[in-house]
C-alpha cells in the first residue's frame, strides 16, 4: 500500500526509462499522456487516486486537490516534483525509436503468478485426515514494490486449531510485517490454559527449551525479522506474565482470546514506539511499524468451530456448495470502511457531534484513511503532543519524512482508530467446502459470487459451463466450432494452476468482460512497470482453505 505516489516517483526517476515500452503495451496510459502534457498534475493525481489508491489517500495529491490551503510551504514544493518526473517520462518516450509490442508469453505470465504460491496439505495418519481442514493454498501478487500485503498460517501446537490470516499494510509494509509475525503468537498465548502458560514461563525462567507454540507454514519469501525477535519476545512474555497473574480460572473463550490478542498487540506496537529502543535500527523499526498501518483478517479453525476476527477491509468468505452442486458465497466478516453504515455510525458515536462532518470525508476516515480499523497508524491514535514528541526525539530519517510529521486535519479527539476486531463465529457444515481470506485487492476486482464459483469449480475439478443450446437461432457449423474451441481453451486454463489462490489471482487480474481469463489482458496487467501497476490494481493476497466435509459431517453426526 502506498504512502503516496508522488514521493516514490521522485525517489526513483531513473526507472522511467522503462516506461516507453508501456506506451505500446497499454492503451490506458496512452490516454493519460495528453493530460500529462497539459501539466494538469492535480487531475493526474486524482485520477490515480480514484483508480486504486485505497487505504491511505495520497497526501500530496489530496493537498493539491482539496487541502491546498492547509499545506505548509515545504509540502507545496514537494508537490511540484512529480512534474519533473513526468517531464522525464515524456522525454524518455521520445527515445523509443520504433513502437514494439511487448507481451509476456504464457510461461512468463505463469512464472510471475506462481512466484509466491504456497500450498499446505494437512498430513494424514493411517490414510485418514482427522482434521476438518484438508489444507490450504495461498498466493500473493504485488502491485506495490515492495508488496505491502502479508500472510500467515500456522498450526497451534499447545491447543487445537489452525490460524490463517491476511494483512494489508499501508504507508509501508512495516506494520503488516510485524503483525504477520506477532499476531498469531498473541492469539495462541491468549488461548493457552493457565498450566501451559506457567510451564512456558518456568522454562524461560530456568533457561530450558520452550514448548513450541506454533508450527508455521511459510513460503520461502515470507520472512521474520531477526533483529526484532528479542524485543517482540519480551513484549509477548510480558503479556503472558500478565495473563498468569490475571488467572481467571475460566476456560478460554476463542472470541475473547482473539479480541484480547488484537488489542494487546496494537497496544504493544504503540508502547514500543513510545519507549523507543537503544539500538538505532530497532528504534527506527518500531517507529516505522507504529507509523504505518495494517488491516488483519484472521481465521481460527478448530473442528467445526470457525472464528473470523477482522480488523479493516480484508474479507473472509465461505464457499458453500448447494444441493444442486452450484456454489454460493457467505461473507464471514464486515468490512470496516465507509461503505459499512454501522462502522460509520460507530466512529461518529465515539467523537463529539461537532466533528461529525469532518470524521468521514470522501469515504475516508478524516478524509485520509480508508479502513476504519487498523493496527499501527499511531497518527490516528496518539495525541498531537505525543506524536510531535516522538517524532522530534526520533531518528533523522523519521524527521525527514513528510508523512510522519503531518498531522491529520480536524484532529481533535484522538484516538480515531482502533485495532479491535469484530469476531464472527460459524459452525462448519458439510456443505461448507472452502474459506477464502483475501485482501481488498481481490474483492475490488471480483464479486464474491464469482469467487465462490471459480474456486468451487477449481477444487471440484468440475467446470460448470452453461450448456450451449442452438434453439431457434441460426448458427453455422463453423461458428459453433469456433465457439466450442474457445470453451475448451477456457476449461483447459482451469488445469493450468495447481494452486486455488493462483487460479483466483489469474481470474482477478485477467478476467475480461465475459468473466473468462483473457491472456492478452493478463499479460498487459502483469507487464506494467512498478510505478504504474499500482494505478491498475492493488496488492492481492489470497488464502484458500479447503475443508474436509467427511470430518465435518462426522462431527455433526456425533452431536446428533
Amino acid at each position: 500500500m502506498c504512502v503516496c505516489p508522488g514521493p516514490r516517483r521522485i525517489a526513483i526517476p531513473v526507472r522511467s526509462s522503462r516506461l516507453p515500452l508501456l506506451s505500446d503495451a497499454m492503451p490506458a496510459p496512452a490516454h493519460l499522456f495528453p493530460l500529462i502534457r497539459n501539466c494538469e498534475i492535480s487531475r493526474i493525481g486524482s485520477t490515480a487516486c480514484y483508480c486504486h489508491h485505497k487505504h491511505l489517500c495520497c497526501l500530496s495529491s489530496h493537498f493539491a486537490h482539496s487541502h491546498f490551503r492547509y499545506a505548509p510551504q515545504k509540502k507545496f514544493a514537494a508537490l511540484y516534483r512529480p512534474k519533473e518526473h513526468f517531464n522525464n517520462f515524456i522525454h524518455a518516450r521520445d527515445y523509443a525509436s520504433t513502437p514494439q509490442r511487448f507481451y509476456l508469453t504464457p510461461p512468463q505470465v505463469n512464472s510471475i503468478l506462481k512466484a509466491n504460491e504456497y500450498s499446505f496439505k494437512v498430513p494424514e495418519f493411517d490414510g485418514k485426515n482427522v482434521s476438518s481442514i484438508l489444507g490450504f493454498d495461498s498466493n500473493q501478487l504485488p502491485a506495490n514494490a515492495p508488496i505491502e500485503d502479508r500472510r500467515s498460517a500456522a498450526t497451534c501446537l499447545q491447543t487445537r486449531g489452525m490460524l490463517l490470516g491476511v494483512f494489508d499494510g499501508h504507508a509501508g509494509c512495516a506494520c503488516a510485517q510485524a503483525v504477520s509475525e506477532r499476531l498469531f503468537y498473541y492469539i495462541a498465548v491468549s488461548l493457552l490454559p493457565h498450566e501451559t502458560l506457567l510451564e512456558i514461563e518456568n522454562a524461560v525462567e530456568s533457561g530450558r527449551a520452550l514448548l513450541p507454540i506454533l508450527q508455521w507454514h511459510k513460503h520461502p519469501n515470507d520472512y521474520f525479522s531477526k533483529e526484532a525477535s528479542k524485543l517482540y519476545f519480551n513484549s509477548l512474555r510480558t503479556y503472558w506474565q500478565e495473563l498468569i497473574d490475571l488467572n481467571s480460572g475460566e476456560t478460554t473463550d476463542v472470541r475473547e482470546a482473539l479480541i484480547n490478542a488484537f488489542k494487546r498487540l496494537d497496544n504493544d506496537i504503540s508502547l514500543e514506539a513510545q519507549v523507543g529502543d537503544p539500538n538505532s535500527f530497532l528504534n527506527y523499526l518500531v517507529l516505522r511499524v507504529a507509523f504505518s498501518g495494517s488491516t488483519a483478517c484472521v481465521a481460527h479453525v478448530d473442528g467445526v468451530d470457525l472464528h473470523i476476527a477482522n480488523t479493516g477491509d480484508s474479507r473472509a468468505m465461505l464457499g458453500v456448495q448447494e444441493e444442486d452442486g452450484s456454489w454460493s458465497a457467505v461473507t464471514l466478516s464486515y468490512d470496516h470502511n465507509a461503505q459499512n453504515e454501522h462502522e460509520v455510525e460507530r466512529v461518529k458515536m465515539e467523537h463529539p457531534k461537532s466533528e461529525e462532518k469532518s470524521l468521514v470525508k470522501q469515504d475516508r476516515l478524516l478524509g485520509l484513511l480508508m479502513p476504519f480499523r487498523a493496527f499501527g497508524d499511531v497518527k490516528f491514535k496518539w495525541s498531537i503532543e505525543l506524536q510531535k514528541r516522538v517524532v522530534e526525539s526520533g531518528p533523522d530519517q523519521l524527521n525527514d519524512n513528510e508523512y510522519t510529521k503531518f498531522i491529520p486535519p480536524n484532529y481533535y479527539t484522538p484516538p480515531y482508530l482502533t485495532a479491535e476486531p469484530e469476531v464472527i463465529h460459524h459452525r462448519l457444515r458439510p456443505q461448507d467446502k472452502f474459506l477464502v481470506l483475501a485482501t481488498d485487492g481481490l474483492w475490488e476486482t471480483m464479486h464474491r459470487q464469482d469467487v465462490a464459483r471459480i474456486v468451487g469449480e477449481y477444487l471440484t475439478g468440475v467446470h460448470h459451463q452453461q450448456p450451449i443450446a442452438v434453439g431457434g437461432y441460426k448458427v453455422t457449423l463453423g461458428q459453433m466450432h469456433g465457439l466450442l474451441t474457445e470453451r475448451r481453451a477456457r476449461i483447459s486454463s482451469v488445469f493450468e494452476d495447481q494452486n486455488a489462490a493462483t487460479h483466483l489471482i489469474r481470474h482477478a487480474v485477467g478476467n475480461n468482460e465475459f468473466g473468462t481469463v483473457d491472456h492478452e489482458r493478463l499479460s498487459k496487467m502483469l507487464s506494467l512497470p512498478e510505478e504504474l501497476a499500482r494505478m491498475y490494481r492493488d496488492d492481492i493476497t489470497i488464502i484458500v482453505v479447503q475443508f474436509n466435509s467427511h470430518v465435518i459431517g462426522a462431527y455433526q453426526n456425533e452431536e446428533l
Partner: protein, 790 residues
C-alpha cells in the same frame, strides 16, 4: 420430431383399424380412443418391443407360418432408439455372422416397400469407409475380403476415386478407402412400420401402449406374460425391449440376465446446403475421425462414436418413450472438428439440431440373441451396439428360425446370450465396459485385443504369484488368464502401441515358452476351464451321458475320454474331456466360455431326476497344467509314486498326493498333445502345490507359460478349438473325428438320426477347421485366434 410425424401418419394409413378415424387429431385420438382390440388371453408367441427388432421378429415369425403372435409395445411403434436411428444400412461389419445379417437386412429392406406399400425411404447410395493410416487400410482390406467371400461387391479405392464419389470430402490426409456400392439409407422408423404392417397382414396382433410388467416362468419354462392390461398365456416370449431389455429381464422372479447398457449417442442434423446435396450421395465413414456422414434432406446427418462416451440410465430409469435428452455441444466438439476437417466446405452450413439418443451396448460389442439359459421359451434380441437397422432384418430372421426350428440356419454362437453369465450383468461392470465398447466401434480392430475394463473379476488363487512373475493377462468369461510371462528385464510396448497387424513384440517370448514345453516342462494355470461333476445313485449318469455324447463313456474307472457333445444334427455343442471318477460319477472339463451354454444344454437334456446330480465345480479346483517331457519327473518326485507310462498311461485319472497336499486329481492329459499332466487341486492347496512344483521343477528347467503357448502347441497338433474351429454346425466327420463317434454303444442316441443319414459319406466333407491356417477364421476374425475357443 418430424420423422415421428411422418411415421405416425403412414402407420395409420397402412393399418386397417385406423382408417376409420379420418381427420381425428393424432395425439388426442390415441390417448382418448379405447384400445381397438382387447388383449387375447392366450398366444403362442408374445413379443415385447415395437422397435425394429420386435417388428422384424414378428414379420419373420409370421412369414414362417406362426399365426398366434402378439406384439406388445409400451409406447408407440418405433418410438425408442429406432425412431432416432441414423438409418444407415451398412454391410461392412467385422464379423462374418454380423455381415450376413446386415446383407440379409439390406436385401429385405430393398423389396419391403414393394411388398407392403409403406414408404421406407430406401435409397441405395453406397458407402465409403476412409483410411487415414496404413493400419486402417489393412483393417478395411480385411473387411473387404470377407465381403468378397460373401459375394457382396466391394472394392478398395484410391483417395482420388473418393473425391469423384463424393465432392465434399477433403482427401489430403487419406491413404485409401473402401467402397461398398450396395449399402443403403432408409428411414428406420418407417422400415419398422412396414415390417409391422406386413406382420399384421399376416395375422400378428399389435398392441401399442401396453407394457409388460413381468414374464411368468414355471419349472424353467415361460408360461405367460403379465401386462398392465391383463395376462397373456404363451409358449414363447421374445424380449426385444432394447435399452429396457435389462430391466425387463430382471422384473420377474427368476431373472434373465441381459447385459446391455445405454450410452448417449449424438448426431447432428443440418439445414440443406445452398445447392442441396443429392440423396444418392454415398454415406461416408471416417473411423479415424470417429464420425459418419450421410446425406439428409439436402443437408447432412453426421454423428460418431467418441472416445469418452456418456453412459446413461445406469440406475435404471424406465422412461416410457425416450424424451429428448439434452444436447451437449461441448461433448460433440471433437466430432464436429473431425467433420469440418473431413468436409471443410460445410463451415457455412446452418445447424438444425443436435440429436441425443440412447443406444444400447453390450460387453463385447456383439449383439445379443437367443434363448435364456434358465428359462426355456424366453428369447432375447437386444443390444445392437448402434447397428440396429443394419442387423434388424437378419437378426429377426435368425431369431424366428430359432423359435420355429430350435436353431437358426447359421452359427450364431458369437451372438448367443449364453456366452454371458450372471457375472456380466452387474450395472457397474456394464457401465464401465460400455464406456470402453463404444469408442471401440471406430477403433482399429487388430487381432488379440483384450478389454481393459471390468477386469480381475474371477481370478485363480495364484493370480498374485503369477502377476509378480511378469504375467500379462487376458480375460475370458470374466476369468483372468495368463497370455505369457514377460521375462525380467525385457521391455514390451505399452498397450496403445502394441496394436499391430504384424509380428507382435511378444512373439519370441511365447516362442521360448513353447520351446520349454517341448523340451523340459512348463506350468500353465488353467483354472478358468469349466468343470462339471455328474453323479447319480444308480446308472442314470452313465446312461444319460451316453445319450448326449458321441464317444463311449462306459470305460473303466480312472479313464479319461475325449468326446463331443453333439446336437441332433451331429454338430458340436461342446468339445470336452470326461473322466470317470467312479462307476457312477463323472468329471467333465469344457472350454471356459461353455459354463453357461453347456450347463443349459445339460439341464435341458437331462431328465428331471433327483437321483441325478449335476454340479458346477469350476470354482472348487485350481488346475495346473504340467506340459513337457520332464513333467513326469517333477510329479514322481513330488508324490513318490511311479508316473511312468505303464503305471500312469495316457488319458488316465488318479487321485494322489502332491507335496503335502492329498486328494489332488491328476490326469494324464495336457490338451495340447504333448506329454504331461493336469492337476486339479482343491483351491486351498493351490499355492502349496504350485510352490512345490516350481521348487522341484527347478532342476528340470521348469518355467511358467501362458495361453498363447498352449494355443501354439494345439495348433501344431491340429487340435481344434470349440467356438472357433468347431461349432454347432460342424460334425465330427468334417473335422476328422469320426473315431470319436461310437454308435454301437447304446441304441438310444441323440444324434443317431444324423449319423445314420451320414454313414457312407465318410470323409467327403472338407475339414472346416482347416481354415485355422487361412488368413481369417470362420466365426470371428476380430479377435482372431486367441479370444475365441477354449
Amino acid at each position: 420430431m418430424f420423422l415421428r410425424l411422418l411415421s405416425d401418419i403412414q402407420w395409420r394409413a397402412a393399418h386397417p383399424k385406423w382408417r376409420r378415424m379420418p381427420g381425428s387429431q393424432r395425439s388426442a385420438s390415441t390417448s382418448a380412443e379405447p384400445h381397438p382390440l382387447s388383449l387375447p388371453a392366450q398366444a403362442q408367441v408374445v413379443i415385447c418391443g415395437g422397435g425394429i427388432m420386435g417388428t422384424s421378429v414378428a414379420y419373420h415369425l409370421s412369414k414362417m407360418g406362426f399365426k398366434d403372435i402378439v406384439l406388445l409395445e409400451q409406447g408407440r411403434l418405433a418410438a425408442g432408439t429406432t425412431r432416432f436411428c441414423a438409418g444407415i444400412v451398412s454391410t461392412a461389419r467385422p464379423m462374418s455372422i454380423e455381415l450376413k445379417m446386415a446383407h440379409y437386412s439390406n436385401k429385405l429392406y430393398q423389396q419391403l416397400e414393394q411388398e407392403t406399400g409403406v414408404q421406407t425411404g430406401y435409397m441405395k447410395t453406397g458407402s465409403i469407409s476412409l483410411a487415414q493410416t496404413q493400419d486402417r487400410l489393412i483393417s478395411l482390406k480385411r473387411i473387404a475380403s470377407s465381403l468378397n467371400v460373401m459375394g457382396i461387391p466391394c472394392e478398395i479405392i484410391s483417395p482420388k476415386k473418393v473425391s469423384q464419389l463424393h465432392p465434399l470430402i477433403n482427401i489430403h490426409d487419406l491413404v485409401g478407402a473402401m467402397y461398398v456400392p450396395e449399402d443403403a439409407l432408409v428411414s428406420s422408423a418407417n422400415v419398422s412400420l412396414a415390417l409391422a404392417t406386413a406382420a399384421s397382414r399376416n395375422g400378428v396382433q399389435i398392441h401399442e401402449r401396453t407394457s409388460v410388467s413381468h414374464v411368468t416362468i414355471q419349472k424353467g419354462r415361460v408360461t405367460g406374460v403379465e401386462t398392465d392390461r391383463g395376462r397373456i398365456q404363451c409358449e414363447f416370449f421374445v424380449n426385444c425391449a432394447g435399452q429396457w431389455a435389462y430391466e425387463l429381464g430382471h422384473s420377474g422372479e427368476e431373472p434373465v440376465h441381459i447385459p446391455v447398457h445405454a450410452c448417449e449417442h449424438f448426431y447432428l442434423l443440418t439445414h440443406p446446403l445452398q445447392e442441396p446435396l443429392s440423396n444418392s450421395l454415398p454415406t461416408v465413414v471416417d473411423p479415424d475421425g470417429r464420425i459418419y456422414i450421410r446425406n439428409w434432406q439436402g443437408g447432412i446427418l453426421s454423428g460418431g462414436f467418441e472416445k469418452n462416451p456418456k453412459p446413461l440410465f445406469t440406475e435404471g430409469r424406465n422412461q416410457l418413450e425416450i424424451q429428448n435428452l439434452q444436447e451437449d455441444w461441448d461433448h460433440f466438439g471433437p466430432l464436429l472438428s473431425a467433420l469440418l476437417r473431413r468436409m471443410p466446405g460445410l463451415e457455412a452450413l446452418q445447424i438444425m439440431q443436435l440429436v441425443n439418443c440412447p443406444e444400447s451396448f453390450t460387453p463385447d460389442m456383439r449383439c445379443i440373441m437367443g434363448e435364456s439359459p434358465t428359462a426355456r421359451g424366453y428369447f432375447v434380441l437386444a443390444g445392437m451396439n448402434s447397428a440396429g437397422i443394419s442387423y434388424g432384418g437378419g437378426a429377426g430372421k435368425y431369431l424366428a428360425e430359432w423359435i420355429v426350428n430350435g436353431y437358426p440356419s447359421e452359427n450364431v454362437w458369437p451372438l448367443d446370450l449364453k456366452r454371458f453369465g450372471t457375472l456380466q450383468s452387474s450395472r457397474t461392470f456394464l457401465r464401465h465396459r460400455v464406456m470402453e465398447v463404444m469408442p471401440l466401434m471406430y477403433d482399429l480392430k487388430v487381432p488379440r485385443w483384450d478389454f481393459q475394463t471390468g477386469r480381475q473379476l474371477r481370478t485363480s488363487p495364484l493370480y498374485d504369484r503369477l502377476d509378480a512373475q511378469g504375467a500379462r493377462w487376458m480375460e475370458k468369461h470374466g476369468f483372468e488368464r495368463v497370455k505369457y510371462f514377460v521375462p525380467p528385464g525385457s521391455d514390451l510396448l505399452d498397450l496403445d502401441h502394441s496394436k499391430t497387424f504384424y509380428k507382435p513384440d511378444w512373439f519370441d517370448i511365447v516362442g521360448a515358452e513353447v520351446k520349454c514345453c517341448k523340451e523340459a516342462v512348463c506350468v500353465i494355470d488353467m483354472s478358468s476351464f469349466t468343470k462339471f461333476e455328474i453323479s447319480s445313485t444308480g446308472d442314470q449318469a452313465l446312461e444319460n451321458l451316453q445319450y448326449l455324447f458321441s464317444n463311449d463313456l462306459d470305460v473303466p474307472v480312472g479313464h479319461v475320454v475325449h468326446t463331443g457333445m453333439l446336437n441332433e444334427k451331429g454338430g458340436y455343442e461342446n468339445d470336452c474331456s470326461i473322466a470317470r471318477l467312479s462307476k457312477r460319477s463323472f468329471f467333465m472339463i469344457s472350454p471356459t466360455d461353455q459354463q453357461v451354454h453347456c450347463w443349459a444344454w445339460l439341464k435341458n437334456h437331462l431328465p428331471d431326476d433327483s437321483n441325478l446330480v449335476l454340479e458346477d465345480v469350476t470354482w472348487k479346483y485350481t488346475a495346473l497344467n504340467l506340459i513337457g517331457p520332464r513333467a513326469v519327473d517333477v510329479l514322481s518326485e513330488l508324490s513318490y509314486a511311479p508316473m511312468t507310462a505303464e503305471h500312469f498311461p495316457s488319458l488316465f485319472c488318479k487321485e494322489m498326493s502332491v507335496g503335502y497336499a492329498n486328494g489332488i486329481r491328476v490326469m494324464s492329459i495336457t490338451h495340447t498333445g504333448e506329454p504331461g499332466f493336469v492337476l486339479y487341486i482343491p483351491i486351498e492347496y493351490a499355492l502349496h502345490v504350485y510352490n512345490e512344483v516350481m521348487n522341484m521343477g527347478q532342476k528340470y528347467g521348469i518355467r511358467n507359460a501362458g495361453y498363447y503357448a498352449l494355443r501354439s502347441l494345439r495348433i501344431e497338433k491340429f487340435f481344434a478349438f470349440w467356438g472357433q474351429d468347431l461349432d454347432a454346425f460342424t460334425t465330427p466327420m468334417e473335422c476328422g473325428r469320426e473315431f470319436q463317434v461310437k454308435l454301437d454303444k447304446v441304441h438310444h442316441l441323440l444324434h443317431r438320426v444324423w449319423w445314420e443319414s451320414r454313414t457312407g459319406l465318410k470323409g467327403c466333407q472338407p475339414s472346416r477347421w482347416m481354415c485355422l491356417y487361412g488368413a481369417v477364421c470362420s466365426s470371428c476374425n476380430i479377435y482372431s485366434c486367441t479370444s475365441a475357443g477354449c
